[in-house]
């Protein structure tokens, strides 16, 4: 497993592109998926070290995907950060309950995101990060 490989799941192509651009310039290997099914396929094929997962997705939503991944022995070690525009109170709790390791709200702070990602990749316990 490549510790620099990050999977970005977002159905919004522009936002996907932004995250990818920011992290690519920070030196990460980026995989992309537009929905949960696509993401699952990639995860099984080339497991990433971290998934930046949008919650509102067409079809299976991000939280369901998180639960599945965290329930699976082979995928449970993959760090998952919810990267979502759901910034209302309680949304972070929902993400944590589903098994997310971090919760990052959109709009992202492009200046902080590489640091947040780096922190997630070396720190094992949950850390709530608000942009």
């Amino acid at each position: 497993m490549n510790p620099n490989r990050i999977l970005i799941v977002d159905d919004n192509a522009i936002n996907l592109k932004l995250t990818r651009s920011v992290l690519k310039s920070a030196g990460y290997d980026i995989l992309e998926a537009a929905d949960a099914e696509q993401a699952l396929a990639i995860i099984l094929q080339t497991p990433p070290a971290l998934i930046l997962l949008d919650i509102a997705l067409p079809g299976m939503d991000g939280l369901t995907l998180t639960r599945q991944l965290k329930a699976n022995e082979t995928t449970c070690h993959i760090k998952i950060a919810a990267l979502t525009a759901f910034a209302m109170k309680g949304d972070d709790q929902k993400a944590k309950l589903a098994g997310c390791d971090a919760y990052i709200t959109k709009p992202i702070d492009t200046r902080k995101l590489p640091g947040q990602v780096a922190a997630l990749l070396c720190v094992s316990e949950y850390k709530g990060i608000q942009s």
Partner: protein
């Protein structure tokens, strides 16, 4: 009338007890008649007896009352009660008719004593008319209590009859008590015995108790009406007492007048007999015929009889004294007469003439006449006095009686009037109350339904609002992510260096994007405050440090406009216990507003100082455009910007101050503003030093 278990059984017990006492008194009087025991017949020797009929009536009524007091009406109880009632009513009615029409049905003697002696004095045997009347009432009351009559009617009849019996018995008792108590002549109230009076009082009380038990009779008159009735009844009794007293006096006076007249008649007879006495004696002396002496003897006897009569009639000491004189004089005159007669017999006419000529007889006769004259005069004076007294009494009676009766009737009528008025008013008031209650209930039910619906609508609206806000927040943040993110990315030169102008424009996009994000956040915060969802987590922090941190963020804006930013925090304000994030938000909002509305090279002063022991002040003073007085009021409202429309020069969401005010107020503080248009404004926030001490 079935017994109700929840009712107080005390009235029933009292009625039963009263019934048994009455029956016992009746039975004991009956025993008294059988064995001729005065103590049982009349209690006190010489006072009026309880008659046999009365005793039997009391026995029957008492037993019946004890039965009825159980308030369980078996057909046997009804039958027995009906029989007793009818018997008592018939006896009462017959006795009354005997009194009124002078008939004799032979119902009064019963054969305990022989009928001959019984017939001699009906007063010994016949119950008093008052007792007969009372029995009539008792019978009616007993009959009423077991017959099927509407409860309201039964209550009225029972209460009225019971009260009447009570009054009759009580009056009789007062009459009996007045003797020993007032040292007056005992007033035996039309011949009712003392234990009869007790019995009727008890019967009245028992009937009232039963009425109370059966229909929960209560005394519900107000004090004034009760007092009115009380005074009316008392004055009626007083009037009756006074009229009795005066009638009694009148009767006594009439008796005395009659006696005086008899005395006068007797005195006149004495005078007449005296004159006859002289004449027959003279005839004997003249003729010597012994026949005249027989006549003389008769005259003397007549005189003695007259004197004896007078002695019987006269009671006053003066007249008694005169009577003694008179007797002595007459005796002397008679003995003198005897002397002349003896002289005529022994010594002949001439000797008798001599005795007569001595003049002693004449002197004596004259003395007798003078004494009788005095007596007559005295009696006439007495008669005159008594007549005057009688007139005075009559006048008083005729004055007092109508007055008393009039007064009583007036008071009772007034009492009745007020009672009726009260009942009428109460009925009206009760009707009105009931109606208004029903209306109220309807209204309340209607309003409750309305409220319920409104609540459901409000809850649905709140849910919809919350859902809308969540989805709006999400939908706006998603494109903003691209706008802000790429702008930052470009400005930072990650994809490659930009020229100065490009960089400036991208920065403009970034600023606008951040402004839009702030707007979204403010809207969400405001919505949370309104929904009561905003949470405050107090922590200890240094306000001066917090203000400095805020200034570090907002500072670049001020520097850009060359604004002089002046911060002063009182030294003694070391720490406060508040939600630090919210405090910073307040400072930031006020400061950014001040910067926004202050022109280049202006001055902004932030001042933070203690205000009393529990509060501190934070004021932000600017030298900006100021606020017109008429605009001050709507300053802290949602979405209000003073300068709106096309002339608007300054950006901002218009939510900042509204949100600031809500944050401050939620922590138990307040915000105020002083401003002079064109010169600048000062916003002052008062906050508690320790938010955990504030009841929110």
């Amino acid at each position: 009338m079935t017994p109700k278990p929840h009712q107080d059984i005390a009235p029933r017990r009292a009625a039963c007890l009263a019934g048994l006492v009455v029956a016992t008194l009746g039975a004991s009087a009956l025993v008294g008649w059988m064995f001729d025991i005065t103590a049982l017949k009349s209690i006190f020797p010489g006072s009026v007896t309880m008659k046999i009929n009365t005793a039997i009536g009391m026995l029957l009524c008492g037993i019946t009352l004890a039965f009825i007091s159980r308030q369980i009406f078996l057909s046997a109880t009804r039958f027995w009660t009906t029989i007793v009632s009818v018997v008592v009513i018939v006896v009462g009615a017959l006795t009354l008719s005997e009194y009124f029409f002078g008939w004799d049905f032979g119902i009064d003697q019963w054969g305990f004593q022989d009928r001959a002696s019984a017939a001699a004095d009906l007063r010994t045997w016949r119950m008093s008319p008052t007792s007969a009347f009372a029995f009539l009432l008792t019978g009616c009351a007993l009959l009423t209590s077991v017959r099927h009559i509407a409860p309201r009617m039964r209550l009225s009849i029972l209460a009225a009859l019971g009260a009447s019996l009570l009054v009759i018995g009580f009056l009789a008792l007062i009459g009996h008590a007045s003797g020993p108590l007032l040292q007056a002549r005992s007033w035996d109230y039309a011949g009712m015995a003392i234990h009869t009076a007790v019995c009727f009082t008890l019967l009245g009380l028992a009937l009232l108790a039963l009425a109370r038990y059966g229909s929960e009779l209560t005394w519900s008159l107000d004090k004034a009406t009760t007092a009115g009735f009380g005074i009316g009844i008392i004055s009626l009794i007083t009037a009756a007492g006074i009229s009795y007293h005066f009638t009694d006096q009148l009767q006594q006076s009439a008796t005395k007048v009659g006696r005086t007249q008899e005395v006068l008649k007797e005195i006149e007879k004495v005078t007449t007999d005296m004159s006859i006495l002289g004449s027959s004696q003279r005839s004997f002396i003249n003729t010597g015929n012994e026949h005249f002496l027989e006549q003389e003897k008769e005259n003397q006897n007549a005189l003695h009889k007259d004197l004896a009569n007078l002695r019987k009639l006269i009671s006053n000491p003066l007249q008694n004294h005169r009577l003694a004189q008179l007797e002595a004089l007459i005796a002397e005159r008679i003995s003198w007469g005897e002397k002349t007669i003896t002289a005529r017999r022994l010594h002949g006419l001439a000797a008798a003439e001599r005795v007569i000529e001595s003049g002693t007889g004449l002197t004596l006769s004259a003395s007798v006449r003078s004494v009788t004259k005095q007596m007559e005069d005295d009696e006439y004076t007495l008669l005159e006095l008594r007549k005057q007294n009688e007139e005075a009494i009559s006048r008083t009676t005729f004055l007092l009686l109508p007055l008393g009766v009039f007064l009583s009737i007036t008071l009772l009528s007034l009492g009745l009037f007020f009672l009726n008025a009260g009942i009428g008013e109460r009925t009206k008031a009760e009707d009105a109350l009931r109606e208004s209650n029903e209306n109220l209930e309807r209204k309340v039910a209607h309003r409750t339904l309305e409220l319920q619906q409104a609540k459901e609508r409000a809850e649905a609206a709140a849910r919809a609002k919350s859902d809308f806000l969540a989805s709006m927040s999400h939908e706006l943040r998603t494109p903003l992510n691209g706008i802000i993110g790429f702008s930052e990315f470009l400005v930072d030169g990650s994809p490659g260096a930009l020229n100065a102008q490009q960089k400036e424009h991208i920065e403009d996009i970034l600023t606008s994007g951040r402004h839009l994000l702030q707007l979204i956040n403010d809207v969400l915060d405001l919505a949370k405050v309104e929904a009561g969802k905003l949470e405050f987590i107090p922590e200890l922090f240094s306000p001066s440090q917090a203000i400095e941190e805020v200034c570090a963020v907002a500072g670049p804006m001020a520097i850009k406009k060359k604004i002089d930013l002046n911060i002063s925090v009182a030294l003694e304000l070391l720490e406060v216990n508040l939600d630090q994030m919210k405090f910073k938000q307040v400072v930031y909002n006020l400061l950014s507003n001040a910067i926004k509305f202050t022109d280049d090279r202006g001055v902004i002063k932030i001042n933070c100082a203690l205000n009393g022991a529990d509060q501190f002040h934070l004021s932000v003073k600017d030298s900006g455009i100021g606020i017109k007085p008429e605009d001050l009021g709507r300053l802290f409202r949602d979405f209000e910007q003073i300068e709106s429309g096309p002339t608007r020069r300054y950006g901002g969401t218009g939510l900042g101050l509204a949100l600031t005010r809500k944050i401050v107020e939620c922590q138990g503080g307040n915000i105020s503003v002083e401003s002079e248009f064109g010169k600048g404004s000062t916003f002052t926030v008062a906050l508690p030093i320790n938010a955990s001490n504030v009841q929110l």
